[in-house]
């Protein structure tokens, strides 16, 4: 897919003063963030921090109340079609068209984006092979396990060879072997100029895998930068708990001591 209209100097994703509220609850509170092109970007935060909301707004799924978002210099809400062409998204907590077979679903995702059939067929087979879904490709997605479902959803996000991949909780329920395969694919993708944003709870994974990280809690951006900058000599997990606060006092549950 030609990406000639993309601004080469712009960050892969640029967010300014992004805000969203649901009723009285402020979900995202004026976040500004740049994701450099070619980075492997981790978005971490406790449950309900606003990660999914932020990513939904960045990918055109949810209309922001305030703020602007650019993908490679294209305003997502001014030129949604152009922006979406550069985006590959694995959304969390949504269904798939699961009465299709895995092969049909990936093909569907390609054709929806206006790709020609020959390319779609070739890439579909490649993706199924790499994700170890060749045999499962002719079965209905509704019969897949949770991990297989995640993998086929990832395939639908990759089929059009996007410039920027946004993956919400990509490793949830995925077995270690498949997770290693997916990490390999993503690392290769980044090495060849792509940009990946993953949201995750698993700090170890983010520390090992990502080049950059941003910490979100209660809708606010607490820290952002390269992993080494953010963790400041500590392990990412310790630094994260420091930033977010709320490390529990382990002495509280004396009745839990059985001996």
């Amino acid at each position: 897919m030609s990406n000639s209209y993309l601004d080469p100097g712009a960050p892969a994703l640029s967010i300014r003063e992004l805000g969203k509220r649901f009723g009285a609850k402020v979900a995202v509170n004026g976040i500004s963030l740049d994701v450099p092109t070619g980075s492997f970007f981790g978005l971490v935060g406790p449950n309900g921090a606003g990660k999914t909301t932020t990513l939904s707004m960045a990918t055109g799924l949810m209309r922001p109340d305030a703020g602007q978002i650019w993908v490679h210099g294209i305003d997502v809400w001014e030129q949604p079609l152009k922006a979406k062409a550069a985006l590959g998204v694995l959304a969390d907590g949504v269904r798939l068209f699961d009465r299709l077979s895995g092969r049909q679903l990936v093909t569907y995702a390609g054709l929806l984006r206006g790709m020609d059939r020959a390319t779609v067929d070739e890439r579909t087979e490649d993706l199924l092979r790499v994700l170890d879904l060749e045999d499962a490709g002719s079965k209905l997605v509704v019969d897949y396990s949770a991990g297989m479902t995640k993998k086929i959803a990832l395939a639908t996000a990759l089929i059009h060879s996007p410039r920027l991949l946004v993956l919400d909780e990509p490793f949830e329920a995925v077995d270690p072997v498949s997770a290693a395969n997916i990490r390999g694919i993503l690392a290769d993708y980044v090495a060849h100029g792509g940009t990946v944003i993953v949201s995750s709870h698993v700090m170890d994974l983010v520390q090992r895998m990502c080049s950059h990280v941003a910490v979100i809690a209660n809708g606010n951006l607490l820290a952002a930068g390269s992993v080494d900058e953010v963790r400041a000599g500590m392990s990412l997990e310790d630094r994260f708990v420091d930033l977010v606060g709320g490390r529990g006092n382990n002495e509280g549950l004396s009745w839990l001591h059985t001996s």
Binding site: L96, S138, L140, V142, T156
Partner: protein, 522 residues
Amino acid sequence: MVAYLLKLKLLLLGNSFRRSPWQLVGVILAGLYALGVISMLVSAMAFLVDREATFISMVLVLAVSAITLGWALIPLVAFGVDLTLDPARFTTFAISRPQLAIGLLLSGFIGIPGLLTLLVLSGQFLAWRAELSTLLAALLCGVLAAMLCLVLARLTTTTMAQLTGSRRFKDVAGILVIIPLMLLGPLLVVVTDGIDGLTDLLPRLAQVLGWTPLGVFAAVPGDLAAGSTAVAVGRLALGLLYLAAAIWAWERALHRAMESPRSAKTSTKAVGMGAFNIFPSTPTGAVAARAMTYWFKDPRYGASIVMVPLLPVVIWFSAGLNGGAEFMLLLGPLLGVLMGFAISADVSYDSTAFCLHVLSGVRGIHDRAGRVLACAVIGLPVTLLASILPPVLLGRAELLPASIGISLCALLTGLGVSSVASARFTYSVPLPGESPFKTPPGAGARIAVVQLATFSVMGVLLAPAAGLGLAQYLTGNDLLGWLGGVVGIVIGSVLLVLGIRIGGRWMDRRAPELMGAVMVNK
């Protein structure tokens, strides 16, 4: 513990209203409707008091038996007992088995169907208020009968759930259920013809039912009124035995299900590319291929397909039998409207899978056109057949142009209006994989409003062509028929194109809002 479970049910119900006020509106409307039903039934029972005891007993035994049978079978075929408190979620809690069973059972009374049944069945005392003994017996037996209803519903569904682990079974059964429901009306017509023979049958039927679980409780007050106290006591004991046995069996089935939860059998059958090899490889073609696959694989669409052969049968029996064979001329337009209407909730049916369309940046117009295309592939031949066959078979070939034109107008207009409606309105529908008959509590009101509005709009748009057709039928001027046919096809085509365009533009503008709406309904 039982009280906790009941409180939990109330809390869950209350929270679901907070999440979506529409549900509250729906439940209030359903509540008002239920109140109407109750007051009608209860006042009917109040009037019964003046009749002789054997007659009261017969009527009540038959009525209660029907209600009990309904509770045992309807949730089964519709695959729905209210699973707000799903037994499977309690496996990890240390709740004793009997307490869990009783709690779950009683929680069934919190909710409109359960409450309605309790009120109506215990309302039987009004018919027996002539004597204190019968009044008290009727009150007690009414409550017990209501309990039995709930237990039977749980028993049949739990047992069947064991048998119906496979998705395929559920899909097929879900569709098959429609057939008897649709044919209920015609059957009643046939049955009422033979009603004379039935008046002799009813007392005997009531006698037999009075000893079965269905009518045993309802028959007790009658025994007392007849002075045979021993029989009454015996019958009550038998009823309690039935109740205990049903609870025991359900509790056991429940436990078996919880100890060894049966994982849904997965089908291993490989599928090819199917419709994706038939439709062109464009966004529109892909949407059509996907929609087509769903028409045949998703029971919620399958329901529409099953209507096709059933509708002529229904029309024939409800009108045709009584000499109005020409009513069959309505078949074409009716099928057209129904088929067109079938895609009016398409985005709601997609549920959150619609996400893929939003993320891919599919143009609204391609999305709309693809869905219309898939529906038309099935709807067009069906509608044409339904519009050509009746006039030909009736020997009224001169009505053909109007019949074809109006039917096509109905189909095309329906598709056009649906394309606009589904881009704007979403409502709670059965989720993918659920029974087509399961309605989320309280969703009824919004569905009713949207569908009524959609139907009214279709009616208005269909009026010119239908008017000309009717004029030909009444005046015998065939020119009017030709005119109606042409007008119908022209109007239909224009509206279809307009519908796809307007719907497409709305979808382009409102895709994130649509996405938000299906996220709430999920």
